[in-house]
């Protein structure tokens, strides 16, 4: 802008005046800085010099003691054990490579250990102590202490590290801890400073992960004055942390051990519920793995052998494994039909061994057919055609609603990782996910727990508990030992007469000569069980295979055999336990899953002990005795399961 001379002069005068004010302010601030500098460097220099030369203040974090985890009776599941370790600080060590090399002459250190320690030290701030080696013997620690002058920055320390005394038994439930990863830090909103300590361990899976905040506790800190060689001269102040809280699981460690060992040789899962309150007494997924390996840092070869194992030991099959429930789903179809009043349950349906529905032939598992069956005998002999008929009468909507009511297709709130919701299919679901309309064939498949239906073993146990009690039992894994164990679930409001029919069917399945699980019955007052077998198809035997002579499951390769399932509750008259067993590719429900389900049910009735032979039908006792002897060798010794709650 073209300005007049007068305006220019006015502007210049104004700017000069303001510039002078700014300059004055700046000189004032600079003067303050100069005064502060003089004060620190000339007046107080003695004091700072002393602090710098003689002593330095060192801040140490006191890691909190992680909370303990007990089973329902007080058996320790996750504890902390004493552990001698060597820590090192970059700013005290000077030449870290030299010190590490000297250290490796005193204690066994692999190249990997050294590389990790170097990396941790260079990545962290220099005053942060880094753990170089853990789990050292007393001699090794003494050797380091004796050579302390040659090892600047190295301090032997005693700490606690996580230990799982029950090893494999609880791996899937409790999970394990491991060092904090970058990803863990990124997921947390406000990371606790204690997490920045290298090799501080946090829960990586299971209860350890979900209950991390409860278990971790709060770190304390300590400010100490140390001299030039790192000796602590005095403690300046100390803020006490607080230890993590303990947890009590509903699991019975003894029963869990029995269940897991009973699954030995199979890939499968077994769940035991207390039907009166939903307590999960056993949640066994076999084969399992030793969580202590992960705490110490699992070797690559161990880890890949776990990953490559066909039986998938790392997967928690009880809640994460999803299987077509097969015939164990038939109770759902039966109840849906009763509720919809399309049958009275007494009515008989003729089973010729197959049924033709919209141009497709659906077979019953018994090729010759069951003849005329009513609801009870259809359940106990597991007739498929009866349920094809009922499902067509009541439709998928009723079946879907009943399955939901019995707890299928529902994700339970449990403090463990990767709990699956399963799949309880509906018209809406198929439209959204498969972009196709629901067809009658889908209903027919669903009626016998095939097709789209997928359930986890835990869900099957919940379903059984609900059938046994007519209550909306919900599973729980944590309990407050100070509170009463009683918990009343909401009523399920299924008509008693419907349930009488279902329960009679389940009773006859096990205790009637024609039942599919008759050979797995329990004898003896007050411990009779009722149950249902299931065999779910993974692949059907192809025509080519049939022609090649393959008719039996045993002839198929393992991973193409049918899944074997069994659900039961006991005692029949006053139900206490509900059990679900799924054996992956076990062949058949009655041949593989039912005997395992019976043994685990008996163990539950006998406080987790090996069941007495008197509970088995007399012709089977010799065989059972041999099986039990073999099993007892693998079971944990009683002293390993002693109660150690303070």
């Amino acid at each position: 802008m073209k300005r007049s001379e007068r305006e220019k002069q006015f502007s210049q005068r104004m700017i000069s005046r303001r510039a002078l004010m700014l300059g004055g302010l700046q000189v004032g601030i600079a003067g303050t800085l100069m005064w502060r500098l003089r004060d620190m460097q000339l007046n107080q220099t003695e004091q700072f010099h002393l602090l710098a030369e003689e002593n330095r203040i060192n801040l140490r974090l006191l890691p909190p003691v992680r909370g303990l985890i007990y089973d329902r009776k007080g058996v320790l599941i996750a504890g902390n054990e004493q552990n001698y370790r060597v820590v090192m600080k970059r700013d005290d060590a000077g030449d870290i490579d030299l010190v590490l090399e000297r250290l490796s002459q005193l204690i066994p250190l692999s190249d990997e250990d050294i590389a990790r320690a170097r990396h941790d030290m260079l990545r962290n701030r220099p005053f942060v102590p880094v753990t170089v080696a853990e789990r050292l013997s007393w001699e090794e620690i003494s050797r380091i202490a004796a050579n302390a002058p040659a090892l600047p920055g190295v301090t032997p320390e005693m700490g606690l590290s996580r230990h799982y005394p029950l090893e494999h038994d609880m791996a899937h439930v409790v999970g394990y801890v491991g060092p904090v990863s970058e990803r863990d830090l990124a997921e947390l909103e406000a990371p606790d400073p204690v997490l920045m300590i290298p090799r501080f361990q946090i829960g990586k899976s299971g209860v350890e992960r979900v209950q991390e905040n409860h278990l971790r506790g709060r770190a304390g800190s300590q400010r100490v004055e140390v001299n030039a060689v790192g000796r602590v001269m005095r403690e300046l102040d100390r803020v006490e942390g607080s230890p993590g809280g303990n947890l009590h699981l509903t699991i019975d460690a003894r029963l869990q051990n029995y269940a897991l060992e009973r699954l030995h040789g199979h890939s499968g899962a077994a769940v035991v519920l207390d039907v009166t309150n939903g307590d999960i007494l056993a949640l066994a997924s076999g084969p399992s793995f030793n969580p202590n390996l992960f705490v110490r840092g699992i070797s690559t070869s161990d880890f890949s052998s776990l990953l490559e194992n066909e039986f998938r030991p790392l997967v928690n099959k009880t809640v994460q494994g999803l299987y077509p429930p097969g015939s164990t789903f038939k109770m759902v179809t039966a109840l849906a039909a009763l509720e919809d009043s399309v049958t009275d349950g007494q009515e008989r349906v003729f089973c010729p061994g197959h049924m033709d529905i919209s141009g497709h032939r659906f077979h019953c598992w018994r090729r010759g057919g069951h003849g005329r069956v009513n609801m009870t005998s259809a359940l106990s002999e597991s007739c498929d055609v009866y349920f094809y008929e009922m499902a067509q009468r009541c439709g998928i909507d009723k079946i879907n609603a009943m399955a939901t009511r019995l707890g299928l297709g529902v994700r339970y709130e449990l403090p463990i990782t990767s709990v699956s919701a399963g799949l309880n299919p509906s018209r809406d679901w198929k439209q959204r996910n498969r972009n196709a309309a629901w067809r009658v064939g889908d209903t027919v498949n669903a009626s016998i727990g095939q097709g789209y239906v997928l359930t986890s073993p835990l869900q099957l146990a919940v379903m059984t508990a609900r059938l046994a009690t007519n209550k909306a039992v919900l599973p729980r894994l944590l309990r407050d030992p100070t509170e009463s164990a009683e918990r009343v679930a909401a009523d399920l409001d299924l008509r008693p007469e419907w349930l009488r029919l279902i329960r009679r069917g389940m009773n006859e399945t096990v205790n009637d000569q024609r039942g599919t699980a008759y050979s797995s019955r329990i004898v003896g007052e007050g411990q009779v069980m009722a149950g249902k077998t299931g065999t779910s198809q993974v692949f059907s035997i192809t025509r080519a295979e049939r022609e090649a002579g393959i008719r039996r499951q045993e002839d198929l390769p393992w991973n193409r055999r049918n899944h074997a399932l069994f659900v039961d509750y006991a005692p029949m008259d006053d139900p206490k336990y509900a059990v679900a067993v799924v054996i992956e590719h076990g062949g058949g429900g009655s041949s593989t899953a039912a005997p395992i389900g019976r043994d685990i049910t008996l163990a539950a009735l006998h406080d987790g002990q090996v069941p007495p032979l008197a509970s088995y039908p007399s012709p089977q006792r010799n065989r059972i005795r041999a099986e039990q002897e073999e099993l007892e060798e693998r079971l944990r010794q009683p002293e390993a399961l002693r109660i150690n709650r303070a």
Binding site: M14, I15, L22, Q26, V27, Q41, L42, Q44
Partner: protein
């Protein structure tokens, strides 16, 4: 100043411009940068790598840039000020949407092979934009509320965008740098008094309400403010550094421990020893003599700039000069106050001394503008 005022007869042209450069300023800047190179050499344990040599090379590049900027007539810079400001805003928005993350904040923008920090650029372009604004504005309107508001927006918009990255230090420098230009342009002092008064009142209100029934912030927010104001409350984070920084600085005494004699082991715990905390090393190794001489050099730079601003009748030229000088002052004053434990730790480097490219190049560009204003100043009639 527009071309119309560009009195070619009284202006130096061609190579003769070299004679009209503000040579004292060139000498002062070189001296200050020299302090930096020497300290970086010492921190690396007597090695030109990894910091001293690249820093020296960057300063030479900065000097060349300064000369190039200086030789372009100041009216050209005035006419591109608006465009430069808008481009800066677009780049800042670009960071918001496409920026890359480094050190926990989103500051970098990668366009093809070029990696840049638009927030550094904003420090200079905001000052240029405000100076051009007041050059255009009728003198009578300077203190009218609407026009003051517009100026405030010019300063605050880039500052807010930078704050979102988040980079509190740079945002503060941009806003305060803009404030210096607005103040120098002659806006009525009442606005500043009102602003300072309101801010003080608000802060007092928030702090006073603590523990009463009408507490304004959550407890954890108060705790954060506490540890920001008094870093010793956060012993694992900033507090540790400030504490150790003060010990090192204080132990320097009158003449220091001597070149490269600073207790390296002690300083190793400072993660930013070659950047934000470099003043600590200087004060430890060269004592009060070294530290205060750098402070005096800095003040001389300010003084030379103020003199240059007094001696031109051109509004844009003097406002830019004052703005650049003000920003420069804020840089070193905040940094020194921080390492001496007088101010909270915000990431502000020691200008021309701390290791780092972006800040140095942008500052040298800014001093190029000061030089251009000096060479092409409308000389007062003698």
């Amino acid at each position: 100043m527009s071309y119309l005022e560009y009195n070619t007869k009284r202006m130096p042209s061609g190579l003769s411009k070299v004679l009209y450069l503000n040579w004292p300023l060139v000498a002062l800047l070189t001296l200050v940068a020299g302090y930096g190179v020497v300290m970086l050499y010492s921190i690396a344990g007597g090695n030109a790598q990894p910091w001293a040599e690249p820093q020296a090379r960057r300063f030479v590049f900065g000097l060349v840039l300064m000369f190039i900027v200086a030789f372009m007539p100041i009216w050209i810079w005035r006419s591109v000020a608006g465009v430069a400001y808008v481009v800066t805003l677009l780049l800042l928005l670009g960071v918001e949407f496409f920026g890359t993350i480094g050190m926990g904040a989103k500051r970098w923008l990668v366009i093809g092979p070029v990696r840049m920090q638009p927030s550094e650029l904003a420090k200079v372009t905001t000052i240029m934009a405000l100076a051009a604004y007041y050059d255009l504005l009728d003198m009578k309107k300077v203190s009218r509320p609407l026009w003051v508001l517009l100026a405030a927006l010019i300063a605050i918009i880039p500052a807010l965008l930078v704050l979102r990255q988040p980079d509190l230090g740079t945002a503060m420098l941009i806003a305060l740098g803009g404030g210096v230009v607005i103040f120098a342009a002659g806006v009525h002092w009442g606005y500043f008094a009102a602003l300072i008064g309101t801010a003080t009142g608000l802060v007092t209100l928030v702090l006073q309400s603590r523990g009463t029934e009408w507490q304004i912030l959550q407890n954890y927010q108060y705790r954060r403010i506490d540890s920001f104001l008094d870093p010793t409350l956060d012993p694992l984070g900033a507090g540790y550094h400030v504490n150790q920084s003060m010990i090192a600085l204080g132990s320097g005494g009158w003449s220091g421990r001597g070149f490269m004699e600073g207790t390296q082991a002690r300083l190793n715990f400072l993660p930013e020893k070659h950047t934000d905390f470099i003043f600590t090393t200087l004060a430890e190794e060269f004592g009060f003599v070294g530290a205060s001489s750098l402070l005096i050099l800095y003040m001389l730079v300010i003084g030379v700039c103020l003199l240059s601003a007094f001696n031109t009748t051109n509004r844009f030229a003097s406002l830019v000069t004052l703005g650049i000088a003000g920003t420069f002052f804020l840089y070193f004053a905040v940094n020194m106050a921080m390492v001496m434990g007088l101010a909270p730790v915000v990431g502000v480097p020691l200008p021309l001394v701390s290791y780092g490219g972006s800040a140095m190049i942008v500052l040298m560009f800014g001093f190029g503008l000061v030089q251009s204003a000096h060479i092409h100043r409308a000389r007062l009639p003698s």
